[in-house]
Amino acid sequence: MPQHQEQKQLTNNQKKFNPNVAMVLSILLAGLGQIYNKRYMKGISFIILEIAFILATFDFLWLGLWGIMTLGTIPGVDHSIYLLVYGIVSLIIIAFAVTLYVFNVRDAHKQAILLNNGKQPPSFKQAIRNGYDKAFPYIMTAPGLVLLIFTVVFPLLFAVALAFTNYDLYNSPPRNLVEWIGFNNFKDLATIPIWQDTFISVFSWTIIWTLVATSFQIVVGLVLAVLVNDKRVKFKKTIRTILILPWAVPGFVSILIFAAMFNDEFGAINRDIIIPLIGGDGLPWLTDPTYTKIVLIMIQTWLGYPFVFALFSGVLQSVSSEWYEAAEVDGATRWQKFRNITLPHVLFATAPLLIIQYTTNFNNFNIIYLFNEGGPAVQGQNAGGTDILISWVYKLTFDTNNYSMAAAISLIIGLIVSIFAFFQFRRTNSFKEEGNI
């Protein structure tokens, strides 16, 4: 073939390089297509890379792929969970390899076309220069992407995979193997009463918690920001500093301190405030689910408003005073100015961050767990009275080793949150697009 090609090289307008041949060759072995295109350096380095890749990873990939299919066959020797992890890592490596491979095939195809159109193959140096230009954003994002895949995507894949297994205490390596069981966990969740009841009650509290706690922190943050922004207020800097303080204290420390303060019998709140002022025995902050819920929302407001406050303070400073002046000319009341100028401006500008506030609270494990471990206990469900989905998942995972069910519930949580976030982002995004262009 190559000789044949060379003979015809003199006649110009003929098809010397068949793009399809280049493509097929590069599918057979990365780099062959490039060599066919007379890009020897490139071709050879591709071949070397591919062979090195196969030699270096073959054993691992084999074990991984076999592992993820079977999850092991001999108890005590095969550790299903390790095999599952190897399998996922293998799949990720393969995905990387396939991406590069596709790039190689496309490259061969494109080069052949370019050559046919009479373009001179660029010199090696030139090629590198062009490549650098085109690849710059890829090179810049690549390290980040690789890290992301292993810290975000990989655990997610693992969690998703677990949801379809029977991994629990009684199916744990090394004694036993884990097996794929399809949608059984989800079926159980929907049909077995105790799962069903718990899921429904935990889910509804999670929604209430998310909406109320987040809205509270936004409202408090907003009100304070507006007040501090008032022209007449002095010592703005000092006041801001104090108001931002809860953000500066480590969250888990604050929560634990609050937990101690709210102890029914011995905490400072009942002892030093409620009983002297109101009398009685104090309020059952930690033993009555309703009170615990109220306290949780108050604490989350305490913890969360400074972020919103800081954000709004910044935005408020950017609202042009001309708008207000114009409104004053039209005789607008203060409420009207707030309602029609301040509020839309502030909310519009910060919408994505506020959405993230909601989704963060939906999964706000720390406060629920550290304050009262999801308690107090209530009858008829296997979660505590203030457990939100994520803290329930934690208990299933670490207290009862019911990994697969925890994974299934996580998957449901994730889907709910991401669908919500997706639509919200899209909405705010499309607004933005209009505004920016």
Partner: protein, 433 residues
């Protein structure tokens, strides 16, 4: 055209991958195990020849307590002197050890020996994390039967018992002259002494199933039905009449305001140490602490009698276990046995104050502070060691409800039903042992 071919190429690749995945690769240990089906239940016996090779080092996970470190280091040094094997140890909180072992074992970062109470034995066995111990008749006789039973599972003994633990009554002699002998006397005493507004209490027991089981068990409530040493996880007796009667007795203390509703162990210890409580139920781990704070005012007694006899208490046995992942199980076993022989058990007792389950030592204890401890032990019931026990701790929920004023019968019936459901959904009722 282009797309199609790429697709085709990808398909080819997927096919190859599937082919690869279809047949098992070679892996360490696979041959041994396939050649020997018996080996697959986690009780693989190590080959003798290999085992006589002395390891240079053994790794031990001790409980995350200063005192555990003190005693262990002392014994480790002695062992190193005798055998030349170095011991490296790590402090891992006892409740986290099983979980961490499951993670770290396969990577080789696990220990050779770890430390667990028998109520977690079921979890350990279900996951196959421990290896049985080879005892000679004589070695076996060195331990009390209760201790060996506590660590026997399916006929194999899985640990070398270190200490036997139970709770009993501590009382403060400056508040009560002698320990009330029946629960009714406790009630009377409590009514006299308690002044809740000044944090003064006659009698406190932490509202946890662990302690309150005494009330239930005294009136014939039980955790799992038992026959010939085999527990039946489907037969739970925590909601029978006896249990209800016992807990109602307890609830009177709450209703009368004699025990605060949100009492926790920390609070209880704090108050007792400050000399504000007449009597508490607590365990040997508090003996040095109470003693230091209250001096000679502390005394102990067995639990007050309920239903005519000294109330039973849960007996826990803590033990060294040989990790399934140990590379030197025989030596790990050797170390475990070394640390629990008579001489070293005596040292353990001297340092920690916890009673080793060895008759020789039990008989020799003459410290009056141990009166309650040694007298309570024969009256105790061992905590069931099957994994379904994990769900039974949900009884704490019933107790929380009872503390908050719920009807005892309702609380107990519902909770036990939940425990049964939870055992079901966690696969525990079908898992045949």
């Amino acid at each position: 055209m282009f797309k199609k071919k790429t697709l085709w190429g990808l398909l080819l690749m997927v096919g190859f991958i599937l082919l690869l995945a279809a047949c098992a690769p070679e892996r360490e240990g696979a041959e041994e195990a396939t050649g020997n089906d018996e080996g697959s239940d986690g009780t693989e016996e190590a080959e003798g020849t290999e085992e006589t090779d002395k390891p240079e080092e053994l790794v031990v996970w001790i409980n995350d307590e200063d005192i555990a470190e003190d005693i262990s280091v002392e014994l480790f040094e002695k062992y190193t002197e005798e055998t030349g094997i170095e011991i490296s140890y790590r402090r891992v909180p006892m409740p986290d050890q099983v979980e961490e072992l499951a993670l770290a074992g396969p990577t080789g970062d696990g220990p050779d020996l770890f430390f667990q109470p028998q109520d977690r034995l079921g979890d350990v066995i279900a996951q196959g994390l421990a290896m049985p111990i080879d005892y000679s008749e004589e070695e076996m006789n060195g331990f009390t039967d209760v201790a060996i039973d506590a660590f026997t599972y399916d006929g194999d003994v899985y640990g070398t018992p270190v200490a036997v633990e139970t709770y009993f009554a501590f009382y403060n002699k400056s508040i009560v002259d002698s320990a009330p002998e029946t629960i009714d006397e406790v009630m009377e005493m409590s009514k006299e002494v308690t002044d809740a507004s000044n944090d003064k209490y006659g009698f406190l027991v932490s509202p946890e199933f662990y302690y309150l089981y005494s009330f239930m068990n005294a009136y014939d409530g039980y955790v799992f039905g038992e026959e010939d040493g085999v527990y039946d996880p489907t037969d739970i007796g925590l909601d029978n009449e006896g249990s209800i009667e016992g807990l109602s007795k307890y609830q009177e203390f709450i209703n009368e305001g004699l025990i605060p509703k949100t009492l926790t162990v920390d609070v209880l210890d704090g108050l007792f140490v400050e000399g504000k409580v007449g009597m508490v139920f607590s365990g040997p781990w508090n003996m040095p602490i109470y003693k230091e704070a209250l001096g000679d005012d502390v005394a102990t007694a067995p639990l007050p009698s309920m239903n005519g006899e000294i109330a039973p208490s849960f007996i826990g046995v803590k033990s060294w276990l040989v990790s399934y992942y140990s590379d030197h199980p025989k030596w790990a076993e050797d170390l475990a046995k070394f640390m629990t022989n008579d001489e070293n058990s005596q040292t353990y007792f001297d340092v920690t104050g916890e009673l080793p389950p060895r008759p020789e030592i039990l008989d020799a204890v003459d410290d009056p502070l141990y009166k309650g401890y040694t007298e309570q032990v024969p009256n105790g019931t061992p905590m069931p060691n099957i994994p379904q026990m994990a769900q039974v701790w949900d009884m704490d929920i019933a107790i929380e409800l009872i503390n908050n004023g719920a009807d005892v019968e309702e609380a107990v019936t519902d909770t036990v039903q939940n425990i049964k459901d939870n055992i079901d959904v966690s696969g525990g009722s079908s898992a045949d042992e």
